[in-house]
């Protein structure tokens, strides 16, 4: 078990590293979009490349952050029923669903995504908007995103097994649902 847990730790470190830095793409998108709007209004010029850059940045963000969000347990769950189950039962459910739902999904997406990217790269496909950006990197983000998800899924499976066999002590992080009080610097109780 220990070697597997070591693998899981390496994956988690890589995912965490990416998650830690990828977030700045939002700031970049905010600034690009603001500049686009102002320049268009003031000088009446607009560039499709810069407009496309907005969604390029955001697309890269959410595709590459998906694995990190999985690691942080940030993908929303419907916990009407599962909230009443014991911790171990939930871990079993997660383990089965990681293997039976997530793994097939990412494998299908990766197998479809590889030819999707290669074709686009070979034809040097360019956006149909005048002066638009080249397309294959955006497709590559999709593929990379699902690759990262694949690795993270493996890591999560190892951790769930580790937890259920007792080899791993720390439990899964608490599920987060959108913006939490902690995000706003609140930790319960009256502050003033």
């Amino acid at each position: 078990m220990q070697p597997l847990l070591a693998v899981s730790r390496v994956i988690d470190a890589v995912t965490g590293f990416i998650g830690h830095h990828i977030r700045w793409l939002i700031l970049a998108a905010v600034l690009v979009s603001t500049t686009n709007a102002i320049i268009r209004k003031l000088f009446d010029i607009s560039s499709n490349a810069w407009l496309e850059l907005q969604w390029y940045l955001f697309g890269a963000l959410f595709m590459l952050a998906a694995a990190y969000v999985l690691q942080r347990n940030g993908h929303v769950r419907i916990d009407v029923v599962s909230g009443r189950l014991a911790e171990r039962t939930r871990q079993w459910i997660d383990l089965f669903c990681h293997i039976l739902m997530l793994l097939p999904l990412v494998l299908v997406m990766i197998s479809l995504g590889i030819p999707f990217v290669i074709e686009s790269y070979q034809s040097q496909e360019i956006s149909t908007n005048a002066g638009g950006l080249i397309i294959w990197p955006s497709k590559l983000f999709i593929l990379l995103g699902f690759f990262l998800l694949l690795f993270q899924a493996v890591s999560e499976i190892i951790k769930r097994i580790g937890f259920l066999t007792g080899a791993l002590k720390e439990p899964e992080p608490e599920p987060t649902h959108g913006i939490t009080p902690e995000d706003l610097g609140v930790h319960g109780g009256p502050q003033k």
Binding site: W24, A29, V30, N48, W55, H75, V76, T128, P190
Partner: protein
């Protein structure tokens, strides 16, 4: 047996989706996995049923569907408004507003409650994040309300409900998602929701007013010693009058020179002048204005400017909602920086929270697109349509059934899931009945707002719980121990506002004019659109796609 399954694949797929979701596994992956599983089943069963229009090559369209989600410029507004909301919360704008507006209304009965409602509406008009509003107001106003003897359920109810105004007053996240799912422009949706949102704010105030008449003990006025800014309301009224005169004069002068929006520019000039006058008065200590008037003007103007920056530009057609969101976020950063509330950690934390929210939302959308490929391919939309057209009462039967359905779902799941899973199924049926989709969206928006308030899974109540003191605490200001707030009190407080919410749904249902005025859409989207439509499909050898998309114009019947 196989024939039976093949002919009823759509209901079976839908029921199994519910089962998948109830497992408590992430919604995004459950949706996608369900879609893939039934894709496989459907292809295997396709010889048995004419309803199944799926074959293996169609699976290759999945990456394109993901790319379409990525290219969606509209949804880009979600991270922008989220980021803006968090930064604003951290900039302490809510604190300043509550403090000042509270002092302004403090002398009257129910004054703090009015302040909470108005600040809730102001925060709602700058951002679309319910959590930020509820938490900020809960932290600042609740202790004061408890200290001066407000009824506990009323205090928590009014804070939670006012926080949810962020859901319906533009620029709200749910309206962006609804616009995307219903295939309408976000600008139209915003214009449609504006008046209902303001009426709802009025309803909340009316409720507090009624309580202050019938049960004055529940909403006491603040004692004089708390009002550190002193009186001087007269001075404020004079300042406002002067501002109004300037606005009228500017409007008169500008009318002939500016084609559209002269009134808005005039108002901007007036507001700016009054603001600078107040700042000068404060800096030089001239004392033309009372301290209260000074403070109210100085605190209120920056959020109003932000509202103009975001909503004004969107309604005038100067900016798309996405750009409005970006400018709002930049404005919030500038504001926070000017107040020295912005450091590296604040920024990084805000970006992290935004990343998590944006990522899970976009992945639910990706999941729902994978689900929809199969669901539409087995004529699931026709099954849903038949289900609803079979209801008695035609259009009204449908609207009532949908509202009950969304209300009940809202008790258990939140609006992102409803918007991405349920709404796309309902939209084509609404079109069949000839229902205006903007109006439909606004009704659903008000309805989904209640999902934040309904126990036990209402998120506004969760946030309220996390900031309300659960145990008794010693209050230094009044030097006495104040009892905590129980969860039951929080739940009880929400009830009155849920009823108000339902009244509002009925009002919008009965008066469609509130959201779709005859004048037509406030902005003509063609004036903002710059991108050229994509030419044909991408790549070659893609199989012909029937209109499977959730977002596609639903009037095309694939039969």
């Amino acid at each position: 047996m196989i024939e039976f399954i093949a002919h009823n694949l759509a209901p079976i797929m839908f029921l199994s989706l519910i089962a998948f979701l109830l497992l408590g596994y992430p919604v995004a992956f459950s949706l996608a996995a369900n879609g893939l599983l039934f894709f496989w089943i459907a292809v295997e069963l396709s010889p048995y049923s004419n309803d199944i229009r799926l074959s293996w090559p169609l699976l290759q369209t999945l990456p394109i569907r993901v790319l379409d989600v990525m290219r969606n410029d509209t949804l880009l507004a979600i991270p922008f408004f989220t980021f803006m909301g968090i930064i604003l919360e951290k900039s302490g704008m809510a604190e300043d507003l509550l403090d000042t507006v509270g002092q302004l209304f403090g002398p009257i009965r129910g004054g703090l409650a009015y302040a909470v409602i108005l600040v809730g509406a102001l925060l709602a008009a700058t951002t679309g994040v319910v959590a930020a509003s509820v938490i900020a107001m809960g932290l600042i106003s609740l202790p004061i309300m408890l200290r001066y003897g407000y009824d506990r359920p009323l205090a928590t109810g009014v804070i939670a409900a006012s926080g949810t105004l962020a859901q319906i007053i533009p620029p709200s996240l749910v309206l962006i998602v609804l616009a995307d799912q219903l295939g309408r422009s976000v600008g139209d949706m915003y214009a449609g929701a504006l008046i209902p949102g303001l009426i709802l704010t009025g309803l909340y105030c009316l409720y507090v007013f009624v309580v202050s008449i019938l049960r004055p003990a529940k909403v006491p006025a603040l004692p004089a010693e708390v009002r550190t800014l002193g009186g001087g309301v007269m001075s404020l009224i004079v300042a406002l009058l002067v501002g109004a005169i300037i606005a009228f004069a500017a409007n008169y002068l500008l009318q002939d020179r500016i084609e559209n929006g002269a009134a808005i520019w005039a108002a901007t000039i007036a507001v700016a002048l009054v603001y600078f006058a107040a700042v000068l008065d404060k800096l030089l200590g001239v004392g033309v204005l009372s301290r209260l008037a000074q403070q109210v003007i100085i605190v209120l103007i920056p959020p109003l400017a932000l509202i103009f920056l975001v909503l004004g530009t969107i309604f005038l057609g100067i900016a798309t909602p996405t750009e409005g969101g970006a400018m709002g976020a930049t404005g919030a950063l500038v504001l926070a920086f000017a107040k020295r509330r912005l450091d590296f950690k604040t920024m990084s934390d805000a970006l992290e929270a935004t990343t998590r929210l944006a990522c899970f939302v976009m992945f639910i959308l990706i999941g729902s697109r994978i689900f929809s490929l199969t669901f539409y391919g087995i004529n699931g939309h026709i099954w849903v349509e038949e289900l609803f057209t079979a209801l008695p009462g035609g259009e009204w039967g449908f609207l009532i059934a949908v509202n009950i359905l969304v209300f009940v779902l809202g008790c258990f799941i939140d609006f992102f899931e409803i918007a991405f899973i349920v709404i796309p199924l309902l939209a084509p049926v609404a079109v069949k009945f000839g229902i205006d989709l903007v109006w439909f969206g606004v009704i659903l928006g008000v309805n989904m707002q209640t999902s934040f308030l309904t126990p036990p899974f209402g998120f506004a109540l969760f946030y309220m719980r996390s900031v309300a003191p659960a145990a008794a605490w010693f209050d230094k200001v009044s030097s006495r121990t104040i009892a905590g707030v129980s969860t039951l009190q929080i739940y009880r407080g929400a009830v009155a506002f849920i009823i108000l919410q339902c009244i509002m749904i009925v009002v919008v249902l009965l008066f469609p004019r509130l959201s779709i005025p005859d004048a037509g859409p406030a902005i003509d989207p063609s004036t903002i659109e710059i991108e050229l439509p994509p030419l044909g499909g991408e790549g070659e050898g893609q199989p012909e796609l029937p209109p499977l998309d959730f977002g596609q114009p639903p009037e095309i019947n694939p039969q």
